[in-house]
């Protein structure tokens, strides 16, 4: 069931009414309702993978309890953690990366004249597996690190893992943030629910009006790249940047809004990334839940471990500097970003995209200067020329990297980069790009003026006639110009 489908337009209000009509019932019953709704939501996509979802959840629930209640030594706890990591990453690896690694192994062995045949398994990728696996993994890791006390409430835990607003494409929630919300009575707040509806509307506008309408132009740019000039390809890449932002942040807005309607707070996943003045700030504002996950569970452990090793070495070599060299941090960052690329998909295009994004960060890491804090032009309407130049630079670099992300093969990406450089930029007119460019500018302009607010349609403080006028205008725009193809969200494939 897609958020941008008529089915969801019936499903969400039904769950909303049912959930709040049970607000005086025992909490377990409320959670059971949310669990049933979430499994229905997921099962309508493919009921066969419900068992995988349930199995993964029950396993982590059990291992976490064993870790806290039965494991008597640190070694036993570690074994249970390794079992959780092994099963979760094994399942993810099998469904997502099996074909990729088999292909790579085949290519490698063929270099030595070995043939392992061409038969491969046709494996369907269960939607959302990358997201809910990371969510359950964080639970196991946090229980192991004693950041979270494991819950004994199985229903609440299953509902936490499968919570339908964020099940298939995040935000990737931490147990310490979301699980407690299933364990206490939720109180309806009308103002919050109204703002949730606004956020859902803004998410729909970004997805249906902007992203899905840009998809056609982007498809032309990437599908017919061999016939396009350099400027058209550049515009196509920039449009893809806006498309994927509106697609994914639109999904996140709908997810956060739907959760808020039901009394839950989810993590903000995008925070006006176009207005970033450096790459560090960009990644603080883009797909926040994944980046903080990778920071907390991969990057920081690597850094801490490196620092420990460095301190041990310093004891024998006092001439060493107090902190490990910056290049080591840069290497860790590069590894994390490459991993992030691989998380997005089993393709070298994603791996290289991640590596390139990591590379962008190296100069900032080596300089060891703190990243820009707060939102740009916090107390002003407009940015300074310097800020504007830095924002343009960051966005141009990210746009270029996204050519890799969108291309089906490295060859296609290479061809597009080559044509951007070698083909003339102004030899033909580019009028056909004007409409999609205007469409792409719309959310950026709105979010500039709303950059200090949690979402683009946070206008609860406006007078009611103005608010209703805006809602009406957006709904009319959705009806008249929204894409009707009910395109899947791009991040569903990850």
């Amino acid at each position: 069931m897609l958020f941008n489908s008529l089915a969801f337009a019936v499903f969400l209000p039904a769950v909303f009414v049912l959930a709040w009509s049970l607000h005086r019932a025992p909490l377990r019953l409320q959670n059971l309702l949310l669990l049933a709704a979430s499994y229905l939501f997921y099962g309508l996509w493919d009921w066969r993978f419900l068992a995988l979802l349930a199995g993964s959840s029950v396993l982590d629930y059990t291992l976490a309890r064993l870790m806290a209640e039965r494991a008597e030594t640190e070694r036993a706890r570690k074994r249970l953690l390794i079992l959780s990591l092994g099963v979760n990453l094994g399942v993810l690896g099998f469904f997502k990366y099996f074909g990729f690694f088999v292909d790579q192994a085949r290519a490698l062995l063929s270099l030595f004249g070995l043939d392992i045949g061409t038969a491969t398994l046709e494996i369907i990728l269960p939607v959302g597996i990358s997201f809910y696996t990371f969510q359950t993994l964080s639970y196991s890791l946090d229980v192991y690190r004693r950041v979270v006390t494991p819950t004994r409430d199985l229903v609440a835990f299953l509902a936490f893992v499968s919570f339908f607003p964020q099940l298939v494409a995040g935000p990737i929630e931490r147990a310490e943030d979301l699980l407690p919300q299933f364990l206490k009575r939720r109180v309806f707040q009308e103002a919050r629910a109204r703002d949730a509806l606004r956020q859902i509307l803004w998410g729909l506008v970004k997805k249906v009006l902007i992203a899905d309408n840009l998809a056609g132009a982007v498809e032309v740019a990437f599908g017919q790249h061999a016939t396009l000039d350099g400027l058209s390809l550049g515009i196509g890449a920039a449009l893809f940047f806006v498309q994927i932002y509106c697609d994914f942040s639109g999904y996140s807005d709908i997810a956060i809004g739907a959760a808020r309607l039901l009394g839950f707070d989810l993590t903000r996943n995008f925070a006006v990334p176009f207005f970033s003045r450096d790459f560090t700030e960009f990644w603080r504002r883009w797909h926040i839940s994944l980046n903080t996950w990778l920071r907390d569970y991969v990057f920081l452990p690597l850094e801490v471990s490196a620092r420990r090793r460095h301190q041990v070495r310093r004891r024998t070599q006092p001439s060493l500097p107090r902190t490990p060299p910056a290049w080591r941090t840069a290497a860790h960052m590069g590894f994390v970003f490459t991993l992030s690329g691989l998380w997005h998909g089993a393709n070298w295009t994603f791996v290289l995209w991640g590596a390139l994004c990591g590379l962008y960060l190296v100069p900032e890491l080596l300089r060891r200067r703190p990243s820009a804090a707060g939102v740009v032009a916090q107390d002003r309407m407009w940015p300074t020329v310097g800020e504007l130049a830095r924002m343009v630079g960051v966005n141009l670099a990210i746009t270029l990297s996204l050519v890799l992300f969108r291309s089906k093969t490295l060859g296609q990406a290479g061809d597009i980069y080559a044509r951007m450089v070698t083909e003339p930029w102004l030899a033909v007119d580019h009028l056909q790009w004007l409409e999609p460019m205007a469409l792409a500018a719309f959310p950026i302009v709105i979010e500039w003026f709303q950059r200090r607010r949690p979402h683009g349609l946070d206008i609860g403080h406006w007078p009611q006639p103005a608010r209703w006028g805006v809602y009406l205008a957006l709904i009319i725009a959705l009806v008249l110009h929204g894409s009707v193809e009910s395109r899947e969200f791009v991040y569903f494939q990850f």
Binding site: A156, L183, K184, R185, V187, L197, L480, V484, E485
Partner: protein, 385 residues
């Protein structure tokens, strides 16, 4: 360390506030949302009635003789639009027999000029163009009014329905001098393989290769549905269904593809090709029985997508088997590929709408000219009665 404990361990959970206990905020939100929803629906309804007109469709009516799905003549006029912003607009007129045409169809005995009747699917039904631009009207104009062009088309009409139209023309003594079948990809496939439920109002045929016989499954009775009633009442619903293409039953200008634009061409498959000839012959038998003095011409659609790419495509897979039958049976065969290629090369104009696969006015004119030229060249242009 944060503490996550079981709900069952929280007997002292805070009691709901007075507001929540009363349940009012939820109800208030629902009422406000409903009020806003009604306002939005009202504004959209007005907008789509008076500013950006949603497609107006005539009311379907199944005529009693051949169960053809025509239109209720009691609602004779409207504006047909397509596209998200109603970019394409054309008025329609339902004549007293229930066909979309700018003229009345009279029995042969009552008319003063011969008729060339064009039979086909929704392209020939012609809602996408105004009557003066329609192929039938263009045929009259090309002959300086010496012949009358008539059109008998309907959504998804195919070979089995064409046979019923021939019977209908005979029953109503309309007896055209020339009957032109506009053939599209899918016409034979849907005749022999059926549609499934949404198109059950159309006849289909079953072919017994051993006996060489055809059996007809007649059209199911047309029944209106709640959705159809709603479409008549609400411009917003019509817009969403037709202009925006949200209803999978009806298709729309986005996902809707005419038969000529099918992505797969099952009629090209080796096991289907041998069925085209016998099916064509059976159609000719039906026409001969119903309209013994009528000359039949098959005008076969071209691969317009290839033409628009600048290619000179091969005739579509139906063309050769039909030509073969016509050589034996004496009917006419006109493949439209050459005419369409020449037209596109001459001025680069598309032969359909940018967002819709149906013929535009230019294509209607090109096809009318090709048919007229063929009739003249083959001395088949009917003369005064």
């Amino acid at each position: 360390m944060s503490s996550s404990t079981s709900s069952s361990e929280q007997p002292g959970a805070p009691a709901p506030s007075a507001e929540t206990r009363a349940g009012h905020p939820v109800v208030r939100l629902l009422v406000r949302a409903a009020l806003f929803g009604l306002l939005a629906l009202g504004v959209l309804e007005l907008l789509l009635r008076f500013v950006l007109p949603a497609r107006e469709s005539p009311i379907p009516w199944q005529e009693p003789d051949q169960s053809l799905l025509l239109y209720d003549p009691s609602v004779p006029d409207g504006l047909f639009t397509s596209g998200r912003l109603a970019e394409q607009r054309s008025p329609w007129h339902i004549n007293t027999l229930g066909w979309n045409a700018g003229i009345e169809y009279r029995p042969a005995a009552e008319r003063d000029r011969p008729v060339v009747a064009v039979v086909g699917d929704s392209q020939i039904e012609g809602f996408y163009v105004a009557w003066p631009e329609h192929i039938a009207s263009r045929l009259s104009a090309l002959s300086d009014g010496r012949i009358e062009g008539q059109s008998y088309g309907g959504s998804a009409f195919q070979i089995a329905t064409f046979a019923r139209i021939a019977r209908y023309l005979g029953q109503h003594h309309l007896d055209p001098e020339v009957l032109v079948f506009a053939i599209n990809r899918g016409d034979f496939w849907y005749t022999l393989r059926g549609y499934g439920r949404p198109r059950a109002q159309l006849a289909t045929w079953a072919f017994d290769p051993a006996a060489g016989t055809f059996t007809e499954t007649p059209p199911a009775p047309y029944r209106t549905t709640t959705m159809r009633r709603l479409m008549r009442t609400s411009a917003l619903v019509r817009y969403l269904v037709f202009n925006a293409g949200l209803n999978p039953l009806a298709g729309g200008d986005g996902p809707e593809l005419g038969m000529a634009e099918l992505k797969a061409f099952p009629e090209a498959e080796a096991d289907f090709q041998p069925l085209i000839g016998p099916t064509t012959e059976h159609l000719l038998d039906e026409v001969a029985a119903a309209l013994p003095h009528t000359f039949v011409l098959f005008a076969v659609e071209a691969d317009r997508r290839a033409i628009h790419r600048g290619e000179v495509p091969a005739p579509i897979e139906l063309s050769a088997p039909i030509a073969e039958v016509c050589r034996r049976r004496g009917c006419g065969h006109l493949d439209l590929t050459d005419a369409m290629v020449a037209a596109f090369r001459a001025d680069g104009q598309l032969l359909n709408f940018p967002h819709n696969a149906h013929w535009n006015a230019h294509a209607h004119d090109v096809v009318a000219r090709a048919i007229y030229a063929w009739l003249v060249e083959h001395d088949r242009l009917p003369t005064k009665r």
